[in-house]
Subunit: 226 residues, 2 copies
DNA sequence: GAGCACAAGATTGTATCCAATATCAAGCTT
DNA sequence: AAGCTTGATATTGGATACAATCTTGTGCTC
């Protein structure tokens, strides 16, 4: 477990990351004893982590039955993207106005890491980084309240994509991310806002929300394999 | 404790309400043993409730030191209202389009209860109901994801008001709420949106975010007195 | 073979215990 | 009187034990 995080935070981060990378598909049962063994902690810690993830809506806890990776309905999927379309364009606008050279450099490096993961075949990491770029942009806007909402929405988006994504290509096209970062680098708020809006509408259009969803595998395999 | 809620949910709701009604001012220490005794549950339940409230940002947990009613900084206060100004107008617009007669009746009755509380001198209840009207409007819009964000923002707003409110009058003027509900009753989305925007700008303007904040009293007094 | 009932085992919910950390009070020094 | 140190006490963090609930497997009946 990494530095100065409490035990439950470490488990939370690990599980969140695994969900984000589609190592734990929607519907996966998250048994307390299993996780306690896998992470080498007591059930107390696991329960705290699961509760946190439930509050973030990545996990659904059913009383007396256990915790499962959340499985957003088509309605929920739609809502998540609607909420993103309401929050992210203005946030990108604000980020463009506020970005420093260091911020832009960081975004460029982030995109490089995303591409590297994609070309090396690490789809899980690419997926995670793809979503995190949106979070990084929100952080530049320096509005923590809205950023925390965006973080939640990005995380839930990874579940939505796992269930409803209809395209063969990667989640976010590199072209879209590049253009966005360019607009931010130019300090062009309106352009960044417009590009973010188009990007989200594009993502939204790649979802097939006219269906439902599949089953699961054992916990240990999913948390170790890559 | 009321019906079919788990023990920790009951404690969560009770504390949330108390915070909302300013019975527990920002900065109040929420000791686990104290709360366990007051609510007649074990520390396990209290800890779960406090964690939930921490996730909702009504409570701040400091490791090894305890839980305290959150005390938003001026920056956080500003952020909360900015986020509301981004989310609530469009939500009011949507609510106006979607509202049924039953919805409108419910809003009218809500306003009546708010007035009744105010005239009977039950300021805490009036305060709570004032904020909840915004939540009710969001519920009519039937977008659960955004509604949950608004719920969080309304709850945090009560903390902000406790710390930074500059006006002598009630939180939300009855005139503003009446107009809003009328626009919703008329199904006029643009009007509802405009009124909500003005209302929020008005609320925002009544905050003095150029200062900081006071101290506290014992837990039992605050949770029983009215 | 299908369906039902029951018991055993697994898992979750909660309480209690123990360890770790912080706070407070008392005593001492300057 | 103010400041520092030390020890006692209070409180929080985490583990473990026990109770409650659910799931699964076995045996019986039709």
């Amino acid at each position: 477990m990494p530095q100065d995080r409490t035990p439950d935070q470490s488990v939370t981060v690990a599980l969140s990351r695994a969900i984000h990378e589609h190592k734990l598909p929607p519907g996966t049962k998250l048994g307390e004893d299993d996780l306690a063994e896998i992470y080498g902690v007591s059930r107390t810690i696991v329960r705290a982590a699961l509760r946190t993830l439930a509050h973030e809506q990545l996990v659904q806890i059913q009383r007396n039955r256990g915790a499962f990776v959340a499985k957003p309905s088509p309605k929920e999927a739609l809502e998540v993207f609607e909420a993103r379309e309401l929050l992210e364009p203005r946030t990108a606008h604000s980020a463009a106005i506020k970005a420093t050279k260091a911020d832009v450099d960081r975004l460029h490096r982030h995109i490089e890491r995303e591409h590297a993961a994609m070309t090396s075949g690490d789809h899980g990491a690419a997926l995670y980084l793809s979503g995190q770029l949106h979070v990084e942009i929100a952080r530049i806007a320096a509005q923590d309240t809205i950023t925390s909402f965006i973080e939640t929405l990005i995380a839930r988006s990874s579940l939505v994509v796992a269930l409803y994504w209809r395209r063969e290509s990667a989640l976010c096209e590199s072209h879209a991310h590049n253009s966005l970062v360019e607009a931010i680098a130019e300090g062009d708020g309106d352009k960044a806002e417009g590009l973010m809006k188009s990007h989200l509408v594009d993502l939204h259009s790649a979802l097939d929300l006219s269906q439902s969803a599949p089953a699961s595998r054992t916990l240990k395999q999913m948390l170790s394999g890559s």
